[in-house]
């Protein structure tokens, strides 16, 4: 591999590191200039759980039958047992089972 390609790769990875870490820090920087009043607290609290909802919803809507079955089963186990391990294990089993039989 030529040294120019090595530098190109290093530059690309460095760029990714800067953006990834920068985004992790930027939220703190912005919030340090915002007074934490009741409205802001309520916004931040709701936003933090809404992030998860926003991540999950398209996964479920656009997922295959296995993904949807996994979501329903994992959600039920999460409510019933409150165990991450059980929830993940049941979800994985359901997704694998569905795909084994229907694809």
């Amino acid at each position: 591999m030529s040294s120019s390609l090595v530098w190109q790769s290093l530059l690309a990875i460095m760029l990714m590191v800067m953006i990834a870490y920068g985004s992790r820090v930027l939220g703190l920087l912005v919030m340090s200039h915002v007074p934490l009043g009741p409205y802001v607290r309520r916004f931040v609290d709701a936003m933090s759980s809404s992030v998860l909802i926003a991540v999950i919803t398209p996964m479920v809507v656009h997922g295959d039958g296995g993904t949807r079955l996994a979501a329903v089963a994992a959600g039920a186990v999460a409510i019933g047992l409150r165990s991450p391990l059980a929830s993940i294990a049941v979800g994985m089993f359901c997704a694998a089972w569905w795909r084994w039989w229907f694809s």
């Binding site: 290093l10 916004f43 759980s49 996964m59 296995g66 991450p84 997704a95």
Partner: protein, 240 residues
Amino acid sequence: MILKDNYAHLDLSGTWRGIRMMLPLAAFTVAFGLAFGVAAVHRGLADWEAMLMSLFVFAAPSQFAALELWRSPLPLLALAAITLAIHTRHMLMSAALYPWLKPLPRRQQFAMVILLTDSSWAMALGEYHRGERNLGILLGGGIALWSAWVVGTAIGLAFGGGITEPERFGLDVIMLCFLLMIVVGGNPRAVMALPWLTAAISALMAYWWLPPYLHVMVGALTGGMVAVLLPGRWFGTSAS
């Protein structure tokens, strides 16, 4: 180490607790890392390139996306744009952590989010809402997942084409199940129904009609704004 504010603090026992709490997911993260290592081998990345990425970028979605763009010459601008788009949600996540991290000096705040991921953030914030103030939970969770990710990548690079169809084993739903557990397994409040419904609908619309990865940002901001617009008494506060 005891910080300025005794309420929020960081110590070894909290960090160990964070590591232990994240161990179940860390076991699955090894499989994710392995999948990345295997994919990197198949895309022609050198071992050192894949390892550097896992060690320092430590972000599965952007690393997988980078593999799609990894060719010579490297499209740096496209790589930067896609990494930025994928990571906008981390800005919101660290903002959500600010009330907890606020008592720390700025340098320590910045250090605490180095290993921030969706899963460690979700677990730590869940604990914070249950009254936990030991920042070791956040740090320990991050350490557990980072170690698992790096080890998984190394195994994947070493043993090449092991798992070729991870979805056949249900490996692709791990993150979904874990995030679901965080949302519904932590005593959700009825008052959050409307913000969450709005977040879900707006995220879905953004997913369909906006550029990739913006849906998380849109859903999160919409959910937050709806919560602000609701009567304060519903939340048990007097501020509206």
